[in-house]
Point group: C2
Chain length 201, copies 2
DNA sequence: ACACACATGTAATTGGTTACATGATTTC
DNA sequence: GAAATCATGTAACCAATTACATGTGTGT
């Protein structure tokens, strides 16, 4: 049962809009949920085959044009049922992995300038993404406000913006902290008695 | 060159505190960076062997006690150099994957109660983690404020708290939005002209 | 004619989790 | 002596990325 989540992403975007090719599905994913989800061709094409074999999607080279060498797909009723079933089950958390924070955590092992560079880079990225999301909003509003899914899309968008802004704020105070310095016991400072493990899964 | 990041996590925790066994390293990781990083035994033990073969760590069954059937390791100068080199290179971003947001994005395909349940779950998790981090702080301060790495640990901790708080705030407004309802075009609403792809990598 | 975007796919590899198997030491 | 925790490891499997290979349609 626990099939790859790629399958559900495909079902999801086909549920919103039919007759998309593998190429286009990937683009759609990038453009719409790119902020928090990615898919590669190496994953998409095989999954399309599999989904078609299971009749959750069907070839639908139809409507617009089959003028290109492209294979369009649409979701089937079974596919829709499958998507809905998946959506209903509690989401699964992926193990967290943030290399930026990891490097920052070990910052004492290297020159402060290294950590400063990491934070700066982080900041730049944040600003880029925030600009990107802020730019996306009015366009999305203009283009898709009438779609029933719109409120949900806005919800994820506003989540993204909120996280980005909070990260940006933190990064500014972090830069301040990292501009001041003085660089020690034998009991493990990371594993002292009574410190509970961080809840993660 | 591009070795598994598990190796660097191990080097990092051994750099902070020597003479830890695989078991203990894993616990240390959980307790200290668990909020944003995880490691499994299946990854740690083979990596320890590899690192020892490369002389980046060395067996050091010594100091405290070898009373248990346990193999302790310490970082070597070469290992330290390797860690430092890795820390200095720009962090790599992992492709984002947030199943919660994905399910929320497709929320229109199912009953609103489903999305509400997801957000509620998300909220609960957030509160748990925030409590966990807030509890961690004073303890960490008491136990390790004298360690040179402490400011960096606090930085990652405060990042976590900031993100959590902002997510929590968002979740509250999301719950409001999701408590009001009415549930269409043929051009792809997710892929309208002029919408730029979200910056992610 | 050239370049670029569209389009589809496969193979190799990685990075990682999970489950399994086993056993020692401590604590009650 | 039973249970919990400490402790080490392997095998099977999986999701996913990357690089490679190939070709078509459109616009300049």
């Amino acid at each position: 049962m626990s099939r790859s989540r790629t399958a559900y992403v495909i079902l999801g975007v086909l549920a919103i809009h039919s007759n998309q090719s593998g190429y286009e599905i990937r683009r759609t994913v990038q453009y719409s949920v790119g902020y928090f989800w990615g898919e590669s061709y190496g994953q998409i094409y095989p999954t399309l085959k599999r989904l078609e074999a299971e009749s959750l999607i069907a070839k639908s080279n139809s409507t617009t044009a089959s003028r290109k060498r492209r294979q369009e797909y649409s979701i089937t009723p079974a596919g829709r049922a499958c998507l809905e079933a998946w959506l209903a089950v509690p989401y699964q958390e992926d193990p967290p992995r943030d290399e930026f924070l990891l490097k920052l955590f070990f910052g004492n092992e290297v020159s402060p300038s290294v950590s400063i560079a990491h934070v700066r880079r982080f900041q730049d990225k944040l600003r880029l993404m925030l600009a990107s999301l802020e730019q996306l909003e009015p366009l999305a509003r203009a283009n898709s406000a009438q779609y029933p899914g719109f409120p949900f899309w806005m919800l994820t968008l506003s989540f993204g913006k909120a996280q980005l802004r909070s990260a940006l704020e933190w990064s500014e105070s972090a830069m301040e902290v990292l501009s001041a310095d003085e660089p020690a016991t034998t009991s493990n400072p990371l594993l002292a008695d009574g410190i509970p493990a961080v809840q993660s899964a």
